[in-house]
Symmetry: C4
Subunit: 207 residues, 4 copies
Amino acid sequence: MEEQKHKLALRSVRLEALGDGIFAVAMTILTVELKWPELKDTSWQGFVNAFHQLLPGLLCYIISFIVLGIMWFGHRMIFEYIGKTNRHFIYLGILFYMMVCLVPLSTRFLAENALQWGTIFVYGLNLSLCNLSLYMQWTYGIKHAGLLERELPPEVKKEARFLFLISPVVYTIAIIISLWFPIASIFIFVATPLLYLIPNKLDKYLP
Amino acid sequence: MEEQKHKLALRSVRLEALGDGIFAVAMTILTVELKWPELKDTSWQGFVNAFHQLLPGLLCYIISFIVLGIMWFGHRMIFEYIGKTNRHFIYLGILFYMMVCLVPLSTRFLAENALQWGTIFVYGLNLSLCNLSLYMQWTYGIKHAGLLERELPPEVKKEARFLFLISPVVYTIAIIISLWFPIASIFIFVATPLLYLIPNKLDKYLP
Amino acid sequence: MEEQKHKLALRSVRLEALGDGIFAVAMTILTVELKWPELKDTSWQGFVNAFHQLLPGLLCYIISFIVLGIMWFGHRMIFEYIGKTNRHFIYLGILFYMMVCLVPLSTRFLAENALQWGTIFVYGLNLSLCNLSLYMQWTYGIKHAGLLERELPPEVKKEARFLFLISPVVYTIAIIISLWFPIASIFIFVATPLLYLIPNKLDKYLP
Amino acid sequence: MEEQKHKLALRSVRLEALGDGIFAVAMTILTVELKWPELKDTSWQGFVNAFHQLLPGLLCYIISFIVLGIMWFGHRMIFEYIGKTNRHFIYLGILFYMMVCLVPLSTRFLAENALQWGTIFVYGLNLSLCNLSLYMQWTYGIKHAGLLERELPPEVKKEARFLFLISPVVYTIAIIISLWFPIASIFIFVATPLLYLIPNKLDKYLP
């Protein structure tokens, strides 16, 4: 009785604001880390050379930016269904944000040593842990009726699980392949975001 | 039927919050990159010399800050009309944010090599891509009635297109001119923001 | 009379937004400071060596991230009860944010000199000052009825005091112990967050 | 008529959010710039020496943090009265944010050359420009009835002007004094924030 009267709503809006801030900083810092090579001569050739040196780094940062954008979208979507929080849900959110904050670090590592097994392993592991921790948060949230904002159609639940878990599977394959063909792994990292850009079963629930 | 019942509103407020965060970080980081030259002697002359060395960089950062401020304003305005989002609209937003996050990088490049064709090309291209991707997002948004929050007067539509597209045109001219007179291009970069500060046809719709 | 009519609500929402931003930047910057050691050889052994060198730093950053996450949660909780602000309350908030912004600095200091009394003292002192300043803000807020949003059950008041003050006590013990066994202090820093992860008396008021 | 129908509210909430983000980043980056001197020996004396070297920088950062906190409070207060925006008001806001973003730069300059006329001039000028541009924004806002959210009591208007303009006056004095006694200027920078911490005539309008 007493507890019921003093029960807090603990709406999710602050946790979302923290997340938006963390994604904003992580995404901006990604590209800030890029350094232009020094222009040794001012000819057209010198400029092309400098750009050529920047290119692998630039590509890594573009991949990471798009991947973070897609994760942000997933993170944004779960709060369409989950509107309240409790202590465990918030700590699962902090765990997800911790993984997100490590992405600039593993991106830099990849950009500096692009075609080595070790860096591909670290990068793939980092991105997989992002997805897995977000999936844990989502699973915890939808299991606790008190946190749900609206009814969750079974189709959404199934499709969301697919979208959360397909990336870690693909990244695991990329890590294994990198033992023999590191360049192929990079192609997989480039191609994976496309999975989230093509139409999917959730689109019909969106405006 | 079933889909209708479970339809989500997917309001634009989170995408706007992410954007505000990204602009805030990008704008702050611009000036943070600036380094004071070491003060070799503590005389008045030494201080003037140090300031003189800082000046070209400071000017580049001021231009970029104002340009980002104007873009933020454009970005803020489109959400007066567009109140809901879908997957494609959000991904177009992420694309725009990616271009914005590259501005500190191209500003640094310009500040370090101010009067060269290559850097002016990169800087002008970056700013143009910001405007073009924002224009794509806007065009997509106003074409989908489900995303619109309020009626869009034809005059606003026309003037908005002008304001989005005039910059890329001017920047292209600046890039071409820089082949012969790089200093003139810098003047164009300084003057372009003024186009957005003088009164325009949209002002009568504002408070 | 006149004052009553012009009285401002000064809701706490902006102070919370500033805090969310500060926590987001501080948490992201923590991991950004980490640098990968250069990979000298590309063998499996070389990668293991590099990771080994990164490990102590990584551990410090993980501890700080979790501690900041817990502090954010505490900070988020006090605004469930306090919904308005005044000048003194806001300045106490700024004091708390100042302590939070120093955490990346003291974390870096710990990461670079992990097992020394001085760094453990600075780190423990910084974390304690965070908790103590947040506790000051909380105490001030709940004493001023005009700031309160909802009734504060005595049990919450008591448990909150315990949760705010237990950390500074534990950190003081860690600092003293570090004079003889610095490694034991590190273990205490790792273990303290667990105090906030186990169930507590406030959980029954949450969803 | 037509314009009336399509008139936009252009509420100030997004501009406030951008400002909160910019203040959050600027405040966090202030302390992040601080570097611990290398610990040459691990004795108590070595630690005291390192701390001693850090102290002047730490003091500069604390001053700037408190000054930014007070400015944030002023910035937060003007939006209690001003609830809508237009193009010019927003551009004045961008100008204020530009001055705020330069504070980490001038703080670093002061921290590295604390007792020189040039750095004190730059620092005092930067802080003064922050206050003056915020005052311009405020003056513009309260002159346009369409932007006002609530009635502005004459006493508030007068006291606000005093609080906005007292700092630039004091800082100008500090700059002049620094020609002869730079150490006295630093004391003035330390003491000025106290003006905003003592009770003032606006407190009776707050909760």
